[in-house]
Subunit: 346 residues, 4 copies
Amino acid sequence: MQAVVIHAPHDLRVEEPQAPLTVQGPDEVTVRIERGGICGSDLHYYHNGGFGTVRLQQPMILGHEVAGKVESVGANVKRIATGDRVAISPSRPCGACQFCQRGSQAHCEDMKFYGSAMRMPHIDGAFRETVIANEAQCFAVLPSLSAGEAAMAEPLAVALHAVNRAGPLVGRRILITGSGPIGALCAAAARRAGATEIVATDVEVYPLQIMEQIGVDYLFNVEQHEDALRSFAHGKGTFDVLFEASGNAAALLGALDTLRPGATIVQVGLGGDVTVPMNVIVAKELNLKGTFRFHEEFETAVDMMNHGLIDVSPLITQTLAFSQAEAAFELASDRTQAMKVQLAFS
Amino acid sequence: MQAVVIHAPHDLRVEEPQAPLTVQGPDEVTVRIERGGICGSDLHYYHNGGFGTVRLQQPMILGHEVAGKVESVGANVKRIATGDRVAISPSRPCGACQFCQRGSQAHCEDMKFYGSAMRMPHIDGAFRETVIANEAQCFAVLPSLSAGEAAMAEPLAVALHAVNRAGPLVGRRILITGSGPIGALCAAAARRAGATEIVATDVEVYPLQIMEQIGVDYLFNVEQHEDALRSFAHGKGTFDVLFEASGNAAALLGALDTLRPGATIVQVGLGGDVTVPMNVIVAKELNLKGTFRFHEEFETAVDMMNHGLIDVSPLITQTLAFSQAEAAFELASDRTQAMKVQLAFS
Amino acid sequence: MQAVVIHAPHDLRVEEPQAPLTVQGPDEVTVRIERGGICGSDLHYYHNGGFGTVRLQQPMILGHEVAGKVESVGANVKRIATGDRVAISPSRPCGACQFCQRGSQAHCEDMKFYGSAMRMPHIDGAFRETVIANEAQCFAVLPSLSAGEAAMAEPLAVALHAVNRAGPLVGRRILITGSGPIGALCAAAARRAGATEIVATDVEVYPLQIMEQIGVDYLFNVEQHEDALRSFAHGKGTFDVLFEASGNAAALLGALDTLRPGATIVQVGLGGDVTVPMNVIVAKELNLKGTFRFHEEFETAVDMMNHGLIDVSPLITQTLAFSQAEAAFELASDRTQAMKVQLAFS
Amino acid sequence: MQAVVIHAPHDLRVEEPQAPLTVQGPDEVTVRIERGGICGSDLHYYHNGGFGTVRLQQPMILGHEVAGKVESVGANVKRIATGDRVAISPSRPCGACQFCQRGSQAHCEDMKFYGSAMRMPHIDGAFRETVIANEAQCFAVLPSLSAGEAAMAEPLAVALHAVNRAGPLVGRRILITGSGPIGALCAAAARRAGATEIVATDVEVYPLQIMEQIGVDYLFNVEQHEDALRSFAHGKGTFDVLFEASGNAAALLGALDTLRPGATIVQVGLGGDVTVPMNVIVAKELNLKGTFRFHEEFETAVDMMNHGLIDVSPLITQTLAFSQAEAAFELASDRTQAMKVQLAFS
């Protein structure tokens, strides 16, 4: 049983993990992993050993975007059967704290999230050949979905949560700054939620090419055309919602003129410090909202893909054997040639 | 210049209207009508001379679902040009009353709505060869849309307003009772707004066949299978939203068991008196909301069709020359063979 | 240890309950009850042996509006100490079902609510000298509150939940039909939530006199003046929100003309079947919402009273020794001379 | 007819204005001004000749917080009669633009707001002995209100709008940073809207003393006690809403730890650039909302004061004859001894 373990920046090993697999409990299922997508936070561990105050303090299995095939189920398991193909949510809230009891599981006081160094000991991820998960984490996918698509349920859930944070989008005009995987999934989710006009920006050509396949209305390379958005700034601005998915301060600030009074900014990328002109926030009565992870949106993501309502396949640009994890991480770090890189486990 | 004029129940005439066309003002456009759809309220005038307290008291031109080609524009007109093909909103709110100033134009105290006997003198409709409309009523359609599709903007706007009344639908489970034109457009609009599961019912085979083309997940003929919805009543009920588009009390009452606590019922069909079990409304904390006409949703409807985001073409089942208006009204009254019947004016 | 036990309609006994008090667990507290208020549902058991499909099938201790003094606390209890005076919430949701995990505890699939025959075996109530409750049910009250006021936390929580269901009330105009305890507490809660104008109706003089002390703006005896509300129906109606707390169909129907387009009706009284004119619901786009019990509002109710923000004392019209329970229940049934009757337990 | 005219920074003159009073139109009323409150923006013109890009380019009458007595009314005026005492809203939106037609009058494309240099020619203010206003700007006050209280309707409307932007406040815990007039009115408005716990901060003793009379629960001088708010940061933070009314970046940043996940920040003070840690906004899913002026809240403010629901009198700390305008402006600039300084005009 091999796993993809991060030991330190640029020290990524494919090896037998130190802690053996626990015994499957009555509410748990054993899943043979098929695909696992590499996410921005995985890359932060790989390149920098963490982000912000979150730092690797011990070796940790990476990975939280996974799907596989159920090998066995515990005695209490009802929704899932052996042989099912499932997407696995990396989120395991406690269910008992004040936030879980309010339906705000993303803010659980005792969250165990796959592949996260936020707490000690770290919570191991799911880039491994076999995972034991709670039934509540598993959602069956139809044969019409590939394992790679199923493994996109997690980032799609992030995008759907961002869309839910934005409020109703039927007939709305949307700007998306940053056309990486999350920006692209926000475009797909916003369209699915009824947005009539979607404009996307990036500073690279490659992600904009992928975004084109998602089906947005206008694409702008703001590196090449600094004033690309000027035409959307007439009147007091024309966009109803901005999904800021670049984590780049210039993207947020450059978009303010294009937002109509009362518009909503959903900050999706974690980003760092941004110097915000509060007089604009005030005078236009803008709404700046953070969005963090997801909860019920994981099931919605699977439902959406099962019903053929969102097609994530254009985003999966490369798939490598997990034995080549390091090469895959390097490739995933190159925005000029990769969108979503996935590892194949079987 | 001929028009379709209702004089009394079953006295529908194609004739020169009594009042000549007014002169086009500086904010107005002259439109040569191409298509006009027959709506349920048109049929009420035709069969019964009105509905509820609204009664014909003088001859009135019918029709409020129309599209055509712009022949000339007034001096102040900016958004629309001669030669444009446009969908025309039948709604002309005053813009000045307390409701207009709150963005609740549907409740305007001085509304002039095409083909309505709500006030005296009645407001003439748009089943005529040429109409003079305010620029604000006109929205250009792309060449990709047929005139028949453009004339569907009005009922689609009704459905989009119903969807807006329902609140966010991303990932929601929807029941639609009544699969006539409005029910079918609610299905299309709810899907566009992100609903993952849509179930529709009717008591006739024909509308359910059309509904199938719209793309709902389950269809039930509740005339043949009274218990069709029983499987959706498990737990405390499974639907998040009911669009009640039949105006039939049995449809609403039969659906209550299938609604989860906190669910929303949007009453779309006008219907009559319904005996509601308040203890169920209370104990399940249901939300019963009326929905009436539309305002900004008319532009959204055109946007949606222009962007190819909603396809209304399966609903247009017959098109007759307006000289055959009476035959068209009879056909439109037969739910076993017609969904939306349109009149061709040129 | 005596309790107030209902055996059958009009067979109310003060006696030693059959089931002895359980042993206090580590998360539980033992409370010596001081006051208990008689509620409408208690009266339904007393007069009719239940309501709707809920029927007494075995003897049951009544009572769910109680407050007392803590005699001892379990090892894990942190918020509450021996000697504290507490209001006790009668609501014990499971915490684990889908509704609890969404913050909709009122719809818990395994709810245990004091003094309720909804399930078998029935859940005993708290009209007893000593109660063992979970810490989570107990909220400390300040010395400034009497035990009688503390025992009003439960019905005040019901009213606060009704107010939360209504949406923001700042500057709103409110109609309350039915001026019993819940109607009166809705008035107090709506005022606290920022309502600027409150009108209340009833068919009896006595409750309107109590309502006057709560501080509403206009009071109408609709038994004496059928057209009392006519002046509020001008334009398209003037009230933003109706709290229907009478359970009387005539009250709801008589109020429709006074509601502005888009207004909200919160149905608080359980009531029975009501024949609703759907064309009015539709044409005015009214929102009819059921409201059921409460959850976080219990703590809010105690907070409100502790801070002196809501004064419930005018409602407590009589207090009798619990040994006189039958006389108290008869008195509580007479709306011409009693608002809230409480039992004194120590 | 004298007025208070600003010519340049520190050049404030009491003089006959250049433009004579226009003739009262049929929808207008003539009001003899009694009291006018000095606002922060008046002080910006006085000290700096403007703020941000808004700069004095010609002499302008100051003042937008006024009340007076109606001397005559136009032929169409209905709600207001000669002899009425009225609060006058300084806001005159056009009523016709897209924002007015959506109920977002604060963002009117052709707003005329008293005493504002935002447009050329500047819009004169109401610090003058007589004003001609539209009927729609005038709201009658009861004899129970002093003219000084009536003149507080405008800043109270600003606070009520801020409260409306925050969402429902029943049972919420509130932090207010900055205890000047707007902060204090936010406290009063939030309490009126149902907040159960209100904490206020400032860096001066005097405004906190006034705030104490408003009735908040805890007051902190954060100049003296830097860690004053630490006890509110336990768990993931305890405040539901922050009204940031200081315009001081340190106040916003220092409060982030005390806000619970999902909390709302309403930025009331205009302030300048603030460097915001986006990772905190994201990870806690905070909602940062600007709030700008008011619309329907002006009438609500008058209603609230007429009903005795909000008492603004503790804020009016000094009243000077308008002939002493310069001394009044100097006094109003000193936060150590003045909260709201008003000018007496008759």
